[in-house]
C-alpha cells in the first residue's frame, strides 16, 4: 500500500456527521494495531512456521522428505481418495440442491437438516461409526468377513470416512444459490421444448458453475487434509493406508520434525491455494449476484 493509504488511516475523509459516528484517531489506531498483532500471532506466524521449518535443513532435505517412498505413497493415496470423494459429493450436492431448491415435497426440512449432520459430528466419531458398521466387531462385520470384503483398515474405509466428513460442502453452497436464482430460465427452456438434459447442460449447470466450483474447492481441501476420521479407520499401515496428514503424524512422532514439516508444507500450500481461490470465487459470486439483482 502506498503512503497515501496510510494518510487515510490517520486522517480519514470525514463527512459532517462522521465525527460522531466514528472513533477518535487514537482508538482507531489502537484497534488496528491490535488486529495486526493478533492476526500476526495467531494466523501469520503459524503459517510461516510451516514453511520455515520445512526448509530448516535446506532445499535438499526438503526434497528428500518428499521423494521418500512412504511420502510418495501417502501423496498418491490422498490424491486417489480425493479423486473418489470429491466427484461423489459434488454429484450429491447438485442432485440434493436440484430437489430441494426446485420442488416442494414431504420431508424436505428433514432432508435439509440431515445434510448438515456430519458438520456436528466429531471427526473421531465420524471414523468410529464406520468401524462400528463395517469393522470386524461391527454390525455388518461378520457378513463382510464371510465374503472376504475388507473395508476398515483399507482404502474403502478411508474413502467412506472422508466422504462423510466432506458430505455437506457442495450441497450447502448450491441450495441457497439455486433458491436465489429462481427457476424462470429453466421453466422457459422446458416450455420451449428443451429436454431435461439440455436444460441442465445449457442453463442449470452454467448458472451454478461458480457456486459449484466454490463448494468443490472447500470440499477438496477438507478431503485431502482430514485427519481424525481417517486416522480411526486407516489402521496406519505405512506406505499403504497412510494419507498425507497421517504420514505427517508418523514423521512427527518419530522426531523427524523437518521431514514432517516438509510433507506438511504440501498441505499448507494447498490451504493457501484454497484461500486464494475461495477469495476470487467469492468476489465473482458477489458480482454475479449483484448483476442478477440489477437485471431483475
Amino acid at each position: 500500500m502506498s503512503a497515501a493509504d496510510w494518510t487515510s488511516v490517520l486522517r480519514p475523509k470525514r463527512s459532517p456527521h462522521s465525527l460522531a459516528t466514528s472513533e477518535a484517531n487514537g482508538v482507531r489506531l489502537a484497534l488496528i494495531a491490535f488486529a495486526l498483532v493478533f492476526a500476526g500471532l495467531l494466523l501469520v506466524l503459524p503459517l510461516a512456521t510451516v514453511f520455515v521449518s520445512a526448509f530448516a535443513k535446506g532445499a535438499l532435505a526438503f526434497l528428500d522428505a518428499l521423494r521418500e517412498p512412504d511420502a510418495l505413497a501417502a501423496v498418491k493415496l490422498t490424491l486417489l481418495i480425493a479423486a473418489i470423494s470429491v466427484p461423489l459429493n459434488a454429484l450429491f450436492g447438485v442432485a440434493a440442491a436440484w430437489a430441494i431448491a426446485r420442488f416442494e415435497f414431504r420431508g424436505k426440512t428433514l432432508l435439509t437438516t440431515a445434510i448438515d449432520l456430519p458438520l456436528a459430528v466429531s471427526p473421531v466419531v465420524s471414523g468410529l461409526i464406520y468401524v462400528l458398521c463395517f469393522g470386524a466387531q461391527g454390525v455388518l462385520g461378520p457378513w463382510l468377513m464371510e465374503h472376504g470384503i475388507r473395508i476398515i483398515f483399507a482404502l474403502p474405509g478411508i474413502v467412506l470416512a472422508t466422504t462423510f466428513v466432506t458430505f455437506p460442502y457442495v450441497a450447502r453452497e448450491l441450495i441457497p444459490l439455486l433458491e436465489e436464482q429462481g427457476d424462470e430460465e429453466e421453466q422457459a427452456a422446458i416450455s420451449l421444448g428443451a429436454s431435461g438434459w439440455q436444460m441442465f447442460r445449457r442453463i442449470t449447470l452454467p448458472n451454478m458453475s461458480l457456486g459449484l466450483l466454490y463448494g468443490i474447492v472447500l470440499l477438496n481441501a477438507r478431503a485431502m487434509g482430514e485427519f481424525g476420521a481417517v486416522s480411526v479407520v486407516s489402521g496406519h499401515i505405512r506406505g499403504e493406508t497412510n494419507t498425507i496428514p497421517l504420514h505427517v503424524e508418523v514423521l512427527y512422532n518419530e522426531y523427524q520434525g523437518q521431514a514432517a514439516f516438509a510433507v506438511a508444507s504440501l498441505l499448507a500450500g494447498l490451504a493457501v491455494v484454497t484461500l486464494v481461490a475461495k477469495r476470487l470465487l467469492e468476489n465473482r459470486l458477489a458480482r454475479a449476484s449483484r448483476t442478477a439483482k440489477e437485471n431483475a
Partner: protein, 272 residues
Amino acid sequence: MLPGFGLSLGFAATYLGLIVLLPLTALIVKAAAATPSEFLAAAFSERAVAAYRVSFGASLAAAAFNAVFGPVLAWVLVRYRFPGRELIDALVDLPFALPTAVAGITLTALLSANGLVGAQLAKLGIEIAYTRAGIAVALAFIGLPFVVRTVQPVLADIDKEWEEAAATLGAGRWRTFRSVLLPVLWPAIATGFAMAFARGIGEYGSVVFISGNMPYETEIAPLLIVTQLEQYDYVGATAIAIVLLAVSFALLLAMNALQRRLGSARTREVHA
C-alpha cells in the same frame, strides 16, 4: 413442471442413507446392545468424566476468548481501511483451510519450551505446550473464523443512520456501541461462540499434538474414544461418542434458535 425430481431426490436420499444414516444407525445399534447400566458406567466412568471436563473446559475458554477478540477483529476489518486488511481478511479462514494435523504440529513447535514463542514464555515461567492451556490455544486457533465470519456480515449490514441518530441524541461512541450496536451484534456473537464451542468439543487433530494426553489431566474426550477403540473397548468408545453427539446436537438446536433471531442466512461462509 421441471424434470428430474424423482431422479435427483432418489439419488440424494439413497446416497444420504448409505453414507450418513447407515453408519449412524450402527452407532445406535451398538449402543443399544449394551445394558443401560453398562452403558452409563462407560459413558460416565471417572476417566470419561475427567475427559469431558478437559474438553468442555478448554472449548469453553477458547470460545470465550474468540467471543471477545473475534468481534474486535471483525470490527477492524469491516470499519477501517488500512494496509494489510485484505490479507488478514483472507487469512481469517486459514484455520478452516489448514488441515488440523498441520495446525497441531505447528502450534506445538511454536509453543514447546524450545519453540519460538514457548521459549519466551518459559522465561516468564509460563508453560503452554502439553498443558490444558495448550489445548485451549489450539481450540482458539480453530474457533476464530466461526466468530469473525458470523459477526462480519451483520456488522457490515448495520445502517450508519442508527449511529447518527444515537449521536444526535447525545450518545458518545462507547454508549452508542453498548446501546445500539451490541444489541444487534450479540445474536451473531452468541452463534459464533456456540459454533466454536461445538467444534472445540469434537476437535482432535489440532489438539492431540499439543496436549500431553495424560489421562485425567490433559486427555480430551475424542482421544479417549480413539484409545478405547485401540483397546477394543467398543462399549466405552460408543458410550462416549453418544455423549459427544448429544451435546453437539443440543448446541446445534440452540444455534438454530439463535439463527432465527439473526434473520437471513448470513452464515453461508461460516461453514466453509
